[in-house]
């Protein structure tokens, strides 16, 4: 007998409001009406109030010349010609940069510290505990200031820069490196990189096949790294190194030419990763503890070594507890990057919701844009993580 395509509705013989379907529908319609009503009310009020106060609105300001410089620009920007709209993109790029770096570092540190907290090594566990208690419990702003001034204090002035090969310089203004300028024929190198990526994927598949056939396990990770680095490098040399380097030179107060890693970026990155890692460590700990002990025992009795037990058995199951919370921490990290203004890192809030807002006074537009940007970044991160979470959830009866 095949399953009926429509399950037969079994309407309750009780009163209508007891029927869960009717009840659910009613509540849902009510809720929707309320939410829509509230939104409409707010919009209406805002429009009337703006009118009454004669406040100018609109987005023309985005086309006006900004006229202030930004210390780190990942995309083309010049204080003379670029517009306020451009400041938005510049700030956004900077926010994304530090967030991405921070998320990677915080995840790694957080996992390590969280695992260390559960380590049988007393000292390691204690150290991890101290790490969490210190960095979780002090306001991030103070930590950012601490790292910033700690970093600055240890670095020499531009004239006493530490230099390497006369092209890398480290000083209080940051790490100054030669900047590459592509010449004809350089395109081969990125192409080689793409080829390497394809190669790595193929390698993974082949390794898997090989394992399936013979049981041999290849060191896929080192091989991939070799491929990823080696192939583009070889191509680069073979095509005759078609890059010109603009080397930095000390002229006047500062280095000119080359590219620069700002100490603000480093300090902010350090602080964000170390701070968020403390939270992630606790989440990792609770996730691992939530996995029933029987699972570890079963793995042990299958004589899986400790590392493999963690990787194959415990962590996949701990993910259920960890993923939503770690997502929250990622979102927090992204948002906390706006504390950058305290140390002069030009992120979105500093550049756009700070300087631009102040120059133009168009708070509603600027704040709305800022909020929407954070919201979209967050939603993307969160959507990805929820997808992952759904994949991790268990199949049950």
């Amino acid at each position: 007998m095949l399953r009926p395509s429509v399950s037969i509705p079994r309407r309750g013989r009780g009163p209508l409001w007891r029927d869960p379907a009717v009840r659910a529908l009613f509540f849902q319609v009510m809720l929707l009406a309320m939410v829509l009503g509230a939104i409409g009310f707010l919009i209406h009020n805002t429009m009337t109030n703006l009118d009454a106060r004669g406040i100018r609105t609109g987005f023309e300001f985005l086309d006006h010349r900004a006229g202030f410089p930004v210390s780190q620009t990942l995309i083309d920007y010049s204080s003379n010609t670029s517009t306020y709209g451009r400041t938005f993109l510049v700030g956004l790029a900077n926010t994304l940069l530090v967030s991405a770096l921070g998320i990677v570092a915080a995840t790694i540190i957080g996992f390590l510290v969280g695992l260390a907290r559960l380590s049988p090594n007393w000292l390691l566990a204690r150290l991890a505990g101290v790490y969490v208690e210190i960095f979780r419990n002090i306001p991030l702003l103070l930590q950012i200031l601490f790292w910033y001034f700690a970093v600055l204090r240890t670095l020499p002035s531009p004239r006493q820069s530490l230099s390497l090969l006369d092209s890398f310089y480290l000083n209080v203004r940051g790490l100054i490196m030669p900047a590459p300028e592509a010449q004809a024929g350089f395109m081969a190198t990125p192409l080689a990189l793409a080829a390497a990526v394809v190669g790595v994927i193929a390698l993974a598949i082949i390794a898997r096949r090989r394992q399936a056939a013979t049981g041999q396990q290849w060191p896929v990770l080192p091989l991939s790294l070799l491929l990823l680095i080696g192939l583009p490098l070889a191509t680069f040399w073979m095509t005759g190194a078609p890059l010109e380097w603009s080397t930095p030179e000390l002229s006047g107060f500062n280095f000119r030419g080359g590219m620069q890693v700002l100490p603000e970026l480093v300090a902010l990155w350090l602080a964000l990763s170390i701070y968020t890692a403390a939270f992630i460590a606790e989440i990792v700990r609770s996730g691992i503890q939530s996995v029933p002990h029987g699972q570890t025992e079963a793995a042990r009795s299958l004589s899986l070594p400790g590392r493999l037990t963690m990787r194959r058995i415990v962590i996949p199951q701990a993910m259920r507890v960890m993923v939503p919370q770690v997502t929250s921490q990622y979102l927090n990290l992204i948002k906390n990057s706006s504390l950058a203004t305290a140390i002069g890192y030009p992120d979105l809030v500093a550049v756009f919701a700070g300087t631009t807002l102040n120059q133009t006074g168009q708070a509603i537009e600027v704040m709305t844009m800022t909020m929407l940007v954070y919201l979209s970044i967050s939603l993307i991160v969160s959507a990805l993580m929820n997808l992952y979470n759904a994949r991790m959830s268990l199949k049950e009866r």
């Binding site: 809720l31 702003l141 609770s286 939530s290 967050s378």
Partner: protein
């Protein structure tokens, strides 16, 4: 076979007490710090590092420091100048609360700490009464006393609140409010009704997605644009609502992750006992889920506690902001380090307290379930 060799009817081996574990400082050191070559190296390096890093701090903060005085002129030594803190002490605690009315804050703070101690000390009896007092009595008393304007107490507007009392007020309200709200949202997110679920998801993702700063900014300087003219909201109230909604979204995700880890059989067993949805949640699912995610909950509490500093956006001064504002006073320019170190210490003490208590709870609630 020894069992066979035993006398058949008197084979019982009496239960013996377990062998006493080895003790002593040397044993402790050997097993904990120097149990192997790697461990020993790590231990020694760590100890050296601690001495190298911690000693200068102690020297600066305690040994060389100036403690008494009334102005910067009293700071003569090389160490920290705690005079700044001591002259500002009352402001750090009370903010701009009127001098003559500060006894009211004292009563509330006293009551607050008494209740906390009462709730936290496992040996003290009457937890239920204390909890009731803390959740119902204290807010009412605090509201009447701090705000005034009734029973002959002069009105103290919330603008005048500040410092530690403000931090604690916001943190307490935020913590007490966001947890239940978060639980409801988390349950809603796992609800079977699509619209309820959708609304909870939207709510959670919205609040998790926007920076609290912009929320407070909107709620403070832009709110008058959103509401009809001449509707007035207390600024603190706005901040409280904003903070509560914001953190409840985070709490919801923490709770959800706990719910995900609970075996389905638990809910089924509850259902089979005739418990309805809410009872099942309250008695069976949530206690286990919440226990599982205590670290996550405390993470959120700690983050919330520290984020109270953001109320500066709406012109209120918490501990950190009031210290920062004090540093701009022309009499005390240049004492930022002392101010920041002290602020860090204040936050650290409270957060560390929460953290320790939560770990104690985790241990106490561990019922040795191994599945």
């Amino acid at each position: 076979m020894s069992a066979i060799a035993r006398d058949t009817d008197e084979m019982l081996i009496a239960s013996r007490p377990p062998p006493t574990p080895q003790g002593g400082v040397m044993y402790w050191l050997r097993t904990r710090l120097f149990s192997g070559p790697v461990n020993s190296v790590v231990s020694i390096v760590t100890l050296l590092l601690i001495v190298r890093l911690v000693w200068p701090v102690i020297d600066w903060a305690l040994i060389q420091a100036d403690w008494v005085g009334s102005s910067r002129a009293d700071c003569t030594s090389d160490g920290a100048c705690w005079v700044f803190i001591s002259t500002r002490w009352s402001q750090i605690v009370y903010g701009f609360y009127p001098l003559t009315e500060r006894w009211r804050v004292d009563i509330v703070l006293g009551l607050f700490f008494t209740l906390i101690v009462w709730l936290v000390m496992p040996r003290l009896p009457g937890k239920r009464a204390a909890a009731l007092m803390a959740l119902v009595g204290l807010p009412i008393i605090a509201w009447v006393l701090l705000l005034g304007g009734m029973f002959g107490l002069p009105h103290v507007p919330t603008r005048a609140w500040g410092g530690l009392m403000l931090t604690l007020t916001i943190a307490a309200v935020g913590i007490v409010g966001s947890l239940p709200l978060g639980v409801v949202l988390a349950l809603g997110r796992r609800s079977k009704m699509p619209l309820v679920r959708a609304i909870c998801v939207i709510f959670i993702e919205f609040w998790r997605g926007v920076p609290l700063i912009t929320v407070l900014f909107m709620s403070s300087v832009m709110l008058p644009l959103f509401v009809p003219a001449n509707v007035e909201f207390d600024k603190l109230l706005r901040a409280l609502i904003g903070i509560m909604l914001f953190w409840s979204a985070y709490m919801a995700e923490v709770v959800r992750s706990g719910l995900q880890a609970i075996d389905k059989g638990q809910g089924e067993a509850g259902a089979a006992l005739g418990l309805g949805y809410w009872l099942r949640m309250r008695l069976i699912i949530l206690p286990q889920a919440l226990k599982l995610v205590i670290p996550g909950i405390v993470n959120t509490f700690i983050a919330l506690f520290k984020d109270t500093s953001l109320v500066l956006i709406i012109g209120l001064f918490d501990v950190l902001s009031i210290i920062q504002a004090g540093l701009t006073n022309s009499d005390w320019l240049g004492f930022a380090i002392e101010g920041y170190v002290f602020a860090a210490l204040v936050f650290w003490v409270f957060c560390f307290g929460m953290s320790r208590y939560s770990q104690h709870l985790e241990r106490r609630l561990d019922t040795g379930h191994q599945h």
